[in-house]
Symmetry: C2
Subunit: 393 residues, 2 copies
């Protein structure tokens, strides 16, 4: 096994070195597919399985976009004119979600909201569960104490609600962050459990729940979407953050929103965040709030969930890896063959053209891990075939 | 005259009331054309002369975009994938401008950069020339003293360099803001004068020069673009901010950049601003740095400048208004007929379908003013015809 991974041609070795340099330059996030394609056009990427996005939703958006924007010539106004202001778009979303427009904030992707919230509301101490999405601690400003709540490998990195609440009560942070389902492992906290936590952390000023992957979670075979947008009424300290990139397959558009108390939003809008949408994201948000699109979208959402379940079932059959439980559109894989995550990523890329996310930079993981995204049915089949080939040969 | 402006039909009066309500809701910025079209579809807007954008540049961008992105199907990757990180795009621009990549910062429109700079670098005191673009003082955070340097009507709102330097030396701010050409009057400070100022304000920590309209300025009949991007080498306190919306006609894309010291950029990137581009703005920035596009762009830039000069010449012939000197793609008009700016805007909109920007909310202007954008040759002709009709009837 180890031997095989060393067998690269000279050209492959050069490619590997170039790829590793790009990766170092990109810091704590993977280099984008654009950057890779531009700087390393010779890299044979067949499948970007770093990329956490529903491809069928991209198809769907593209259908609407082609029909309504490209074919009608409306693309010109999207490019030429300023988008509407933050509050105008917030109102559209609020009407759709049937919540107070003053409690919706629009972001240029969820990442801008994470930045805004961490910079503006975290005062002294933030509790972050690890492993996690690194921006939550990277954005913490000087003077803020970051306290890590370590998710346990022995519990498959699931959040233990009881211990978590004790941890919060002990550390008394002003801010806590829960990603649900969690990134990078996909661990899911059921809706009733979320409420148990919220009931116990009322003294925490900011309870951030990042629901960027919630559209891939389900609690029964109906696959109905989990709706938490009405929780703010009861829990005023709640800040729900939603990326649209993953579930709607439109990372390039940069669209996200948050639900939080009107007081918090007013303080953000008071000096900034006026025109942080763009023509495309405004079109998307207006589409998002339309019943015809919502209905079509739900079909591709359920289809993708079902295919992801099949994909994960197949992964479980592969020897040499441990598959952690996930309710997201990706899985955390632990390598049991003695290889490092970084070497595995490079080998998979060079030998099979599959780009997966190393978790070697993720704090809180014990062992060697990669994060693997679910893609289209055909791509998933190719990934399974390649992994079988790799681990069996 | 006054009488005519009072003669509205009942339908027009209702429209006016609805329009004024929308305007109030939009705060210190005009409601966008999207918002107006959606909320007031019955409003007969023929020309958006609030909108400060080169329409020929939009045509040009649209040609490239259609050929390279729409017709090739590459639109999918722009929508689906994450754009490159801030520094990757910064490098592309820096190579084009032949400056240090570490001194370029990408923004989701210039407005995001203004927000970032004002929030992160202004410590105690900021000097702002008025009239100005309101975000510069609106974004100032609590505890920051905003000191206004009043541009004089008797000097046609031009910046008096000598008095300005004295003002700075007296008030000792940590930050000063110069918009060149200025918004809303288009007043221009020649390149050699900018250097005179920079030589005298070396003790100021942040010298913001907003060059969002500089592509419309010229110093001789060659209409060569004014280039200040190399000034940072000599003046480390300089922060040049450039919107791409106006000169390239792509406000919907949200693209802007800044040139400032690598230390300032590092401190911004340290906790945020990672993915603040989008698929379209990344495509635009890559296009911006291409010689073929640059050459085509310069033609539409010069054409638009020449037509704007003709437009301003025609405006000078209209009795009832004073036209202030402008080197931007708009002019500040003072009304001499006893009408308020707000009434004039409403009348022009309802009677002629021309949407102009009232300056009634602009601090530092003495009198009644509107800001009028130069549009296409045909639109400019319609504006001239309408103004003549209005002021002569």
């Amino acid at each position: 096994m180890i031997e095989k991974t060393k067998v690269f041609t000279e050209e492959e070795e050069i490619l590997i070195q170039k790829f590793l340099r790009l990766k170092t330059d990109a810091g704590s996030h993977s280099p984008s597919i654009f950057t890779l394609k531009q700087k390393l056009p010779e890299l044979p990427i067949k499948i970007d399985a770093c990329f956490l996005s529903n491809p069928y939703a991209t198809d769907l958006f593209l259908n609407y976009f082609t029909k309504e924007i490209i074919n009608t010539g409306r693309i010109r106004e999207l490019l030429e004119f300023y988008p509407s202001q933050n509050q105008v778009i917030a109102e559209i979303i609020a009407n759709f979600l049937k919540i107070n427009p003053a409690s919706v904030f629009i972001g240029n992707g969820a990442i801008e909201i994470i930045q805004a919230v961490i910079h503006n509301f975290v005062k002294k101490k933030i509790v972050i569960n690890i492993p996690t999405f690194s921006s939550y601690y990277e954005f913490a400003q000087e003077g803020v104490e970051v306290v890590y709540n370590k998710l346990e490998k022995s519990e498959q990195y699931r959040l233990n609600t009881k211990r978590y609440i004790e941890f919060i009560k002990k550390h008394k942070p002003d801010t806590i962050v829960i990603i649900n389902p969690n990134n990078p492992d996909g661990g899911y906290i059921e809706h009733h459990e979320v409420k148990v936590i919220l009931d116990q952390v009322k003294e925490v000023e900011n309870v951030i729940i990042d629901e960027s992957f919630i559209h891939f979670a389900y609690e029964d075979n109906s696959f109905n979407p989990i709706n938490t947008s009405d929780l703010l009424e009861q829990y005023q300290n709640l800040i729900i953050i939603k990326s649209m990139s993953k579930d709607f397959g439109i990372a390039g558009i940069r669209a996200g929103y948050a639900i939080m108390s009107p007081e918090k939003i007013t303080s953000l809008l008071k000096n900034g965040f006026l025109w942080n949408s763009n023509g495309l994201s405004e079109y998307f948000f207006r589409l998002y709030a339309r019943p015809d699109f919502a209905c079509d979208y739900n079909k591709v959402r359920v289809r993708y969930i079902q295919e992801t379940i099949e994909f994960i079932n197949e992964l479980h059959k592969i020897k040499g890896i441990t598959v952690y439980p996930s309710m997201a559109n990706f899985v955390l894989l632990e390598l049991n063959n003695g290889m490092t995550a970084d070497d595995f990523v490079t080998t998979l890329l060079i030998k099979y053209g599959i780009y997966v996310r190393t978790c070697s930079d993720k704090i809180g993981l014990v062992g060697e891990y990669v994060r693997l995204a679910s893609r289209t049915k055909d791509e998933n089949a190719y990934i399974i075939k390649s992994l079988n080939d790799f681990f069996n040969s």
